[in-house]
Symmetry: C3
Subunit: 384 residues, 3 copies
C-alpha cells in the first residue's frame, strides 16, 4: 500500500520539471536523456547568443529576447540539476533546495535591476509575478483543464491551506503601502516599516521550514521533490551543472537587465508594464508551463498547488529578502511601498483566488474570466 | 425518472414570471388567464396615464410615477411574451432571448438618460441595480424565507458558480475606476480603457452563450426557460405582444427619463440617490419580486440564483453594451470610471454576497443585516 | 440522550469564565472556591493600589498599570457574579445580561475618554479591540491549539453564522468612513450618518435578542450561560458583588483614562498606538485568555466562536451605543468616521478571518501568520 503512492509521487515529480519522456525513463536509463540534452544545448546556445548580442551589439530588442530566453532555459537547468541531487539529500532537503534555487533567476534579475536603480521595475515585477500566477496561469490551467476534462476539483485541504497562508502573506506585504498612503505619520518611516515587515515575513518562512523538511517540501504543500527514480546524473555532474547554471544565470540576468530599458524604449513600452508583465512572465516561465501541463493532465489539485505556491514564495521570501539585501549591499533601497494600483490589483487577484479555492471547483469559463481580469489589469498599466 | 424533474422545472418556470395561478393552469387552458389580463390591462392603463401626464402636464411627480409604473408593467409583459414564445424555440434559445429582453427596459432607460446627458445617473443606476439585488432583494429573500422556513440552504454548485463569475465580472467592471483614480498615467485614457474592458466582458459573455444555449439558459445557471406546459398564446399573439410591449417600453422609457430630473428636483432628491436607488429599483422591480416569491416558497437555492444572476448580467452585458452604444450613437460618452463611493459600495456588496454563498446557508438575521447595509449605503448617497 | 449534551454545555460554561477547578466543583460545594477568592482579593488589592497611585501620586506609569490591572480584575469579577446569577433567570436572560455587562468596562473607559475629549483614542480602541481579537487572540488560539493538537476544525455552522454577521456589522460600521472620505457631499453630514448607522446597528442587535433569549445566549452563537451546576453564591451575594464591582469599575475606568495620557507621554507612545493596542488589549484581557484556554483544551470551534463574537459585539452594540451616548451626554461627539488606516486594517482583518472560517481548519502556521499581520499593523501605528 505504501509503494504505489510513492511511485505516483515519483511520476509526478519526474514529470514536473522534466518532459513526459523523462518521467517514463526507468532509473537504470542513460545518464542524459533527450530532454536533458535539449535543455542543456538550448541553454548553451541561448547564453552564447545573449553574450554576442550583449557585447557585439545587434540592437536592444534582440539582446533582450536572447537574454530572456537564456534566463528561462538556465532556470530549467537549475531545476533539473536540483532534481538529480534529489534523493541524495532526501526529499525534504531537496524541496527546500529547489524552493531556494527556483527563485534564483528572479533574485538575480531583481538585484541587478536594483543596482541599476530600477526600483519601480522590481516592485512591478514582484506584484506582476503574483498577478501572472493567480490570474493568467491559473486561468490558463482552468481553461486547458476545463475544456479537456470538464469541471475540475480544487478543494484539497493542502490547496486551501496554501491559499490562506498566501492571503496572509500578501496582506502583510501590502500593509506598508497602505500605511504609507493613508497614515501620514508612518509615511516618513516607510523604509523602517518595510524592514520590519521583511523580517517578520522571513521569520514566518523560517517557522515553516521544519515542517517542510519533514514533509518533503519547503513549498509547504507542493508535492515537488524531484527524484524520478534513482538519479541519472552522478553527484559531480549534478553539482557541477548546478553551479555552472547558477553562475551563468547571474551573468545573464545582468545582461537581461542591461538590455531591458533600451528594448522597452525601442518598443515604446512603459517601465510599469515592462516590470508587471514582461519581467514577471520571463522570470516564471518554467513554473507556469508546469502548472498548465498538470492541469491538462487532469491533476487539477496539484496544478493549483503549484501555481498558488509561487506567489506565496514571492510574498514570504523573495520580496522580503530583496528589501534586506538592497540595504545590505547598498543598492537602490527597495521598500514595500508599492504604487497604489499595484496594491489594488494584487488585492483583487488574491481575493478572487481565495474565493475560487473555497468554492472548490473550477471550469473553463472561470478560467477565461481570470484571464480577462489579467488582460484588463495589464491594459491599465500599458500607459506608464 | 426523467419526467418528474421536467415537470418540476415547468412548474418553476411558469411560476417565475407569472402568478401562482398561472403555474397551476394546465396546458390546455384558455389563451389568456387572469394574471395575463391583469398585466396587459395594467400596462395599457399605465401607458395611457404616463402619456397623459407626459404631454398634458399634471406635474413632474405624477408623470414620473406613471411612467415608472408603465415601464415596470411593460417589463412584465415582455417577460410573459417571451415565456409564451418559449417552447417553440427550445428552452436554450428562450433563455437567451429572455436574458436579452429582460434587461431591455433598463437598456432603453439608460440610453435615453445618456441622450439627456445624465451620465452620473446611468452610472449610479448600474451600480445601484447590483447593490439592490445583492443587498436589498437578497436580504428580503433571506428575511421572508428565513422567517417562514428557518435556516435555508444556498450552497448549490450552480449558485457558487454564478457567484464566482459575478465576482470576476464586477472586479473587471471596477478596474478602470481604480486605474483612473490611483494610476495617474491611465487617467487620460479612461475612455479607451472602458472600451477595452467592455469588449473583454462582452467576449466573455459570448463565450458563455454556447453553454447557455445547450443548457437551456443563457443566464448561466438560472433555471429560467418559461414554457409552462404548452404555450397558451398563438405564435402571432406572442410575437405581436412582444413587439408592441418592447416598442412601448422604448417610448415610456423616454418619458420616464424626461420626468426624472424635474420629479427629483421637486422631491429634493439628489442625482446620485435617484440613480442609485430609484432608477435601479424601478428597472428591476419584476425580477426582484420573483426572487422574493421563490424564497417565500422555500426554493432558496433557486431564489439565490435568480437574484445573483441579475448583477452578473449587468456587469457582463448591460454596462459594456451601454459603453459601446454610447460611443456608436454619439450619446454622452459613458465610461466605466464610477464615482469612488460607488466602487467601494459595490465591492462591499459583492464580497459580502460571495461570503454568504460559500457559507452555504442563510437565516433571517443575515437578511436583516443585508438590508441594513443597503439602507446605510442609500443614506450615504442621500446627500448628492 | 438529552442529559449528556446538557452536562457538556454546563462543563463548557462553568469553565469559560472560571478556572478548570471551578468547572469541576460539584453544585454542593462551598460558596466561595479558591479562584473566587483570588479574583475578589486581587480586585480589592488592585483597586486600592490604583486609588493610591491616583490620588497620592507615584508617577503616571504606575498609576496607569494599577488601574489597568484593577479594570481587568473587576471585569473578571463582574463576569463571575453574572455566572452565579445565571440559572436564577434562565440561561437566555443570563446570556443577555452577560453580554451587556461583559462590555461594561470598555463602555466606562470609552465614556470617560470621550469626556476627556480623547475621540481618536476611543476610535482607535474600538477598531483595536476588533483587530486584537481577530488577529492576535485568534492567532494565539491557533498557535497554542495547533502545537498541542495539530490541525483543528473550526467550521461549525454557528461559527460561520457569527462570522457572516460580523462581516456585515463591520461593513456597516466602516461605511460612514468610506462615505466621508470619498463621497464629498456626505462629508459634512458625518455626524448624522453615524447616528443613522448606530440606530440601524442597534435595531439589528435588538432583532437578534429574542433568538438569543430563547437560545440561551445573546451572543448569538456563543455557548455562554454561566451556570456551572447550581449557583454557589446566594442571590444577595451575587447581586451585591455585581453592583459593587460595576460601580468600582466605573471609578477605576475614570482613573485609567486619567492616567492614560501622562503615562503614554512618559513612555513616548502615540495616541493612536495607545488606543489601538494598549487600551484595546486591557479592555478585552479576560475574554482573550478564555479563548486561548479553550483552544489549548482542543475546543477549537468553541474558542473560535468566543473570539469572533467579541468584535461582533463591538460593531453591533458598543460602538453604536457610544455614538448615541456621546451626543446624549454632551461628551466629545464620537462619529463612525475612523482614520483611513483603521478602516483598511479592520477590512484586512475581517476578510482574513472570514476566509479562515470558510476554510474550516486552522494550524499553528496560520496562527503565526495572523500574529505577524497584527504585529505589522501595530508597528504601522507606532508612529502616531
Amino acid at each position: 500500500m505504501d509503494v504505489a503512492p510513492v511511485r505516483d509521487a515519483q511520476g509526478d515529480v519526474g514529470w514536473q520539471y522534466g518532459s513526459m519522456t523523462a518521467a517514463a525513463t526507468p532509473a537504470s536509463g542513460p545518464a542524459f536523456i533527450r530532454s536533458d540534452w535539449l535543455v542543456l544545448g538550448g541553454s548553451a546556445v541561448a547564453v552564447v547568443l545573449a553574450g554576442l548580442t550583449r557585447y557585439l551589439g545587434g540592437g536592444a530588442v534582440p539582446a533582450f529576447l536572447c537574454s530572456a530566453l537564456a534566463v528561462t532555459l538556465l532556470a530549467a537547468l537549475v531545476g533539473r540539476s536540483v532534481e538529480q541531487l534529489g534523493d541524495r539529500f532526501g526529499p525534504g532537503a531537496t524541496g527546500v533546495l529547489q524552493s531556494a534555487l527556483g527563485n534564483l533567476p528572479e533574485l538575480f534579475i531583481s538585484l541587478f535591476a536594483l543596482k541599476a536603480g530600477l526600483v519601480a521595475v522590481v516592485q512591478a515585477a514582484l506584484i506582476g509575478s503574483i498577478l501572472a500566477n493567480l490570474l493568467l496561469v491559473l486561468g490558463l490551467c482552468f481553461v486547458v483543464g476545463g475544456l479537456r476534462h470538464g469541471t475540475q476539483a480544487l478543494g484539497s485541504e493542502r490547496a486551501r491551506g496554501i491559499t490562506v497562508l498566501m492571503l496572509l502573506s500578501v496582506a502583510a506585504l501590502v500593509l506598508p503601502s497602505m500605511a504609507s498612503y493613508v497614515h501620514t505619520p508612518a509615511a516618513p518611516h516607510e523604509g523602517t516599516l518595510s524592514l520590519v515587515v521583511s523580517v517578520v515575513l522571513l521569520l514566518l518562512f523560517a517557522l515553516t521550514l521544519p515542517a517542510s523538511l519533514k514533509r518533503g517540501s519547503s513549498r509547504l504543500a507542493e508535492p515537488t521533490g524531484g527524484e524520478a527514480g534513482a538519479p541519472r546524473w552522478s553527484l559531480a555532474l549534478a553539482v557541477g551543472l548546478l553551479a555552472a547554471a547558477s553562475l551563468l544565470a547571474a551573468f545573464v540576468s545582468d545582461w537581461f537587465v542591461h538590455a531591458l530599458q533600451p528594448a522597452m524604449a525601442a518598443l515604446h513600452i512603459s517601465d510599469a508594464f515592462a516590470g508587471l508583465v514582461i519581467v514577471a512572465i520571463a522570470g516564471n516561465a518554467i513554473e507556469n508551463v508546469v502548472g498548465v501541463q498538470l492541469a491538462a493532465h487532469n491533476q487539477s489539485e496539484y496544478a493549483f498547488a503549484v501555481v498558488v505556491n509561487s506567489p506565496l514564495q514571492i510574498a514570504l521570501v523573495l520580496a522580503p529578502l530583496l528589501v534586506i539585501l538592497s540595504q545590505l549591499f547598498g543598492l537602490a533601497p527597495l521598500t514595500l511601498v508599492f504604487a497604489p494600483m499595484l496594491v489594488l490589483a494584487v488585492a483583487v487577484a488574491v481575493l478572487i483566488t481565495a474565493f475560487i479555492t473555497v468554492d472548490g471547483e473550477s471550469n473553463w469559463i472561470e478560467g477565461a474570466a481570470l484571464i480577462a481580469v489579467y488582460l484588463i489589469i495589464a491594459t491599465a498599466f500599458w500607459w506608464g
